[in-house]
Amino acid sequence: MPKLTIDGKSIEVAKGTTVLEAAAKLGVYIPRYCYHPSLSISGNCRMCLVEVEKAPKLLTACSTEAAEGMVVRTDSEKVKAARRDVLEYLLINHPLDCPICDQAGECGLQDYYMEYSLKKSRFAAADKVTRQKRRALGPHLVLDNERCILCTRCVRFCSEVTKTSELEVMERADHSFIDLKEGKALDNDYSMNIADLCPVGAWTSRDFRFKQRVWFLKKTPTVCLGCATGCLAEAQHNENVIYRVMPRPNAETNTWLCDRGRLAYKAVTAGDRLAKGFIKNGLIDLEPALREAATRIDEAKGAVAVLGSPWLSIEDNAALAALAIEAVKTENFCFDFPAEQGIKDGILINKDAAPNTAGVKLVKAARGGISLEELSRRLLAGQIKVVITEARAAGFIKEALKAAAPRLITFATNRGEIPQGAYATLPYASYFETPGTFVNYQGLKRRTEPAVTPPEGVKPLWGLVNKLAAYSGDSLHLNSSEDALKGVKL
């Protein structure tokens, strides 16, 4: 356990800890470009140089192991001068793109220049070595080699995290640049992380480019609902529009986010987003749709089934359980979704595509219900005339639905989700618009916070359930997501 002093403060750290990590523990920030906590140490950018007593030269804090009795200075004149010089080097060939660069506002070059350099350029624009400007490399990314400072974070990400090794530094010295095989696309399941990793504006996201200046973005914690991994994420939005979703790195589950999960937010404003109800194939206002659905449920009393959904929050599943037990008063309800869980690709993507398989188990434990097989059996036996479920969950009993052809009342956020043959569809607020609790494959409870408001008139699913019951003359008293839990313990 070496003990060292950094800027006059001493700290004892585990063997193998680097000076940069030890400094972070003390709250001393050391600027860096190539260093990334989840990638191997490269030590190429030289931005983290610090002064170590008895060392003849400045040392890179990212690659220097803390040693017993080490005395480190991160704020001496020598260090400050080194930072200025490193920045001057990095900026020699960097274009003056800031006004049209997407990275502006979260750019390492801008930030460090303001903080450590403020030095006037000694190079005329005409002296700059120009490199290739923006070009699309793959479905999600744009690369502007002229802005690149060759920190190689992207190269290391592709070789160490995705293990696809598409990228390398080509050529040499001031004409070197990042590239991949000619004609190939940078298309792995995690490519958009590279836009986050890039400390400058070299890699930008095609989805986010030019949509919004980063300093306008507000951040709301959310959970990726793309699969059972349940990565912690952050919705970044402005004026009620989500512009991008970024990972919230955490030790338990994720440092990164997969491309599919990152783009899932697009459904919120997609062209097929539902703001009204559907009866058969006709759009209809929510209230008449609810009334129609309630009438069909009343008609079939005793022959109604309610199926929960691993795509819905615990609150919404609990509301469905309350609907079945307290309003419809049926025994035909099912909150049982067996699924194989575990990381599929060694990185983040789960074998279970639904986000809340584990969370629905809590509803089942509290409220009981029949199994999926039993529900199918009852359907096929003709005991069920109306099925109420979430659109994607209908897929679990697809065959039985096809054979028994009951009236299917579904909840959906987008038209594309509606299963074939649905009788009525009710639009509900997505989990970017309403809070919800989910349990991921590790059994960790995670909550989404509303980042934006739903389209006019669209309610959370528990609110629809409350109304459905009310139209049938039953009062469930579901006035908030907490009410919706109804006996289900989180």
């Binding site: 090794s165 390398e168 040499r172 095989k181």
Partner: protein, 166 residues
């Protein structure tokens, strides 16, 4: 055009690989061997080599493009490689390069129409003590100046220098 590594080449490459604890460590020797045989390292060859050494293609390409000693296209009969690093630079390499550009009518990285000369500015040739230095195919010519360079070009044109390596 599909490029295929010959069985004969593969056998030689295997011997090179056997010299190192890891297969990928043989990349540079194998590339040199390939260039000796074909005169240059073709794009398709990089693909084949990557498979042969179980390396990502990008790694092979990065190494080939990093080193000036690898030709990425066929060179002329005489490959004039002028060192442009610090010692040679200070001892007059820019003058030599300018002279060659003017005399041959080509820029760096280009080949004369008759296919006789290719001109390159290369990184350190490791002969700083004899700067400025130019390598012609496999041979070094040291302590060069304008007159020596002119004489050397005349010699080459009249076939008084063997085409090294071939």
């Amino acid at each position: 055009m599909a490029f295929k590594l010959t069985e004969d080449f593969k056998a030689r490459a295997e011997k090179l690989c056997a010299r190192y604890p890891r297969r990928d460590a043989a990349l540079i020797p194998v590339l040199l061997e390939l260039q000796k045989e074909a005169g240059y390292v073709a794009e398709e060859a990089m693909d084949e080599l990557a498979k042969f050494l179980a390396l990502p293609y990008a790694r092979v390409k990065a190494v080939v493009t990093f080193y000036t000693m690898f030709n990425r296209e066929p060179a002329g009969k005489y490959h004039l490689q002028v060192c442009r690093n610090i010692s040679c630079h200070m001892a007059g390499a820019p003058g030599l390069l300018a002279r060659l550009r003017a005399k041959l009518g080509i820029g760096e990285g280009e080949t004369t129409k008759d296919g006789l000369f290719t001109l390159s500015a290369v990184e350190c040739l490791g002969a700083c003590g004899a700067a400025p230095v130019m390598q012609v195919n496999e041979d070094y010519f040291e302590n060069l100046n304008g007159e020596k360079l002119d004489a050397l070009l005349e010699d080459i044109k009249h076939g008084r220098l063997r085409a090294g390596g071939r």
